[in-house]
Structure formats: C-alpha cells, structure tokens
C-alpha cells in the first residue's frame, strides 16, 4: 500500500513536470503570435514609406527599429517565461 502511494506521488511529480513543460511550450508559441503579426505590420509599412519617399529612408529606418524593439519585447517576455518554467 505504502509502496503504491509512493509510486503515485512519484507519478504525480512526473506529471507536474511534464505539464509545466507543455505549458512552457504552448505559452511561448502563443506569446510569439501577436508580436509576429505586429513586426510584420511595422516592417511592411516602413517599406511602403521608404518606397514612396526614398529621401526619408533614414528617419523611417530609425523609427522602424524603435517600433520593432517595442513590439518584440512581448515575445521576449514570453521567451523568459518559457525559460523560467522549463529550468527554474
């Protein structure tokens, strides 16, 4: 009986570990959706602007990198959560 309980507890620990891994994977995947779309919109519009007005390309590029940096931060926070769930 005790042996069975110990085995069940071990199984539960294993299950918890597996679930946290699954959660980490799904969490990172979900966190990457929004920023992916967002960076696409930022860069796409920047390219449109540069194609229309090549003389403003320098300014547009700087602003584009700023926009990418802000958008990308969300995906990176997702990545950090992944690392924390998986290894910490």
């Amino acid at each position: 009986m005790l042996y069975l309980l110990a085995q069940a507890a071990e199984g539960a620990a294993e299950t918890a570990k597996g679930l946290s891994s699954i959660g980490a994977g799904i969490g990172y995947g979900a966190a990457a959706i929004g920023p992916g779309i967002g960076i696409g919109i930022v860069v796409g519009n920047a390219i449109t602007a540069m194609a229309r007005q090549p003389e403003s390309a320098g300014m547009v590029r700087t602003t584009m990198f700023l926009g990418i940096a802000f958008t990308e931060a969300l995906a990176l926070i997702g990545f950090v959560v992944f690392i924390l769930l998986k290894f910490a």
Binding site: M59, F65, E72, A73, L76, V80, I83, F87
Partner: protein
Amino acid sequence: MSVAFLAALEFPSIKHLVDWEDLALKGTPLAINKVVLLMWLAAIIVFVLFIVAGKRARSEAGLVPAGVQNIVEFGIDFVRNDIILQTMGPQGLGWTSFLSTMFFFIFFCNIFEVIPLIQFPVNARMAVPFVLAIFVWVIYNTVGIKSQGLGGYMKSILFPPGVPKFLRPLVAFIEIISTILVRPFSLAVRLFANMLAGHLLLVTFGVLSAALFTKTVLAVILPLPFAMLILLTGFEILVAVLQAFIFTILTAVYIGGAMNPEH
C-alpha cells in the same frame, strides 16, 4: 572546471543556463566566474580602444584617420548622427560620450557570442543588462527632475497633453507604471532575452553538428545543421550590433523625453 571548458571547447551542462560555476572567491557575493571575466575584458577593450584612438586623433598623424581611430570615429559618428540627432536633437549632443561608451560596451559584450574560444555573450546573464537598465533609469529620471523640476516632471509623466479629461486617471495610472516599472524592465529583458535566445540557437545547432560528426550513415545529414550554424553565426553578428543600437537609441529616447516634455 578545466581550461577546455573555459575556452568553450566542450559543452556545459544545461544547468549552467541559470547557474555558472565560480572560479575564485567561491561562495561570496563577489565570486568571479567566466561572465565576470568577460565583462572586465569588454570594459578593458572599450577603455583601451578609446584611449588609443584619442591619442592618435590628437597627434599629427590623426589628421588622416587610420586603423583604430577609424573604427572609433565611425562608431561615434554613428551614435551622433543616427542616434542622438534623430531622437534628441542638437541639444542632446552632450550625451555623445556617454551613449557611445554604452554602445561600444554592449557591442563588445554581445560580440563575444561568436568569437571562437569565448562564445558567450555577457548580456545573456540577466545581471549585466539589468544593472545597465537601472543605470539608465536613474539617469533619465534625474535628467527629468533637473530640467523640469520634480512637479513639472511628474506632471509631464502623469498627464500627457491631448488626453480627454475623463480618461486622465486611467492614463495617469498606465503612464506611471510604464515609466517607473515597464521601461527599465523591458529594456533589460529585451537585451537579455535576445542574447540568450541567440546563444541557445547556436548551442542547439552546435550540439546537433557535434552529435552527427560520426562514422555512421547519419553523417550524411551533417551538412544541414552545420550550414544552419554558419548562417546563424552571421545572423548573430547582426543581432549583436542591432541590440547595442536599440539599447542605446532607447536610452537616448528616454533621456530626450525627460529633457523636453511633449507640448
């Protein structure tokens, strides 16, 4: 802790991702590990680079830039024209030395990622970007209070112009959280996570290539991960420059925003 391990000739265990072994002063808060050594190396490189280039620029030979002077002048020119003048305007030129030092330090910390025998980006440890972000946080708040006064600075943070009256409490709440908490946090996490993710990508394909380097038939697919490893190394050089640029330009944006309130 062997020499082969320090020189990145063998792969560390996965627990080193969050916990690196100490080399000296073990167990104390001042313990020294590979990351600390690399950080000192980056600081020394920046220091020597600027001293040497500055000496050359002041001598007669400096009239025609060459060698190290070229690199430093290019970097400072880049910080001046593409970062400061684009975000802070001419009145931010006093920050050139601070921002270019920061740019070069972060760049050298990052570029260690692809240098053989080192292959570790210092900024993939949260401590380094975090301290840099706190540094920036203190500076832009000090600049804001100095140039606008405590009341004026709080007012410009809390109540950005052009907000309808009934939305003001909500906007004030969001703005104070964004300025006090989210800015330094996202500044640090952006640099840290980018470098760590790049490092893990390189490690993944490095381990895969090493595992396939056998005399069995599996060696046929070895070129695929190896080609990917080479491509990613090039990509990581780009990321190292880009992240140094982004950290510096965001610092410039924050300091510029603190100097000049929006009207």
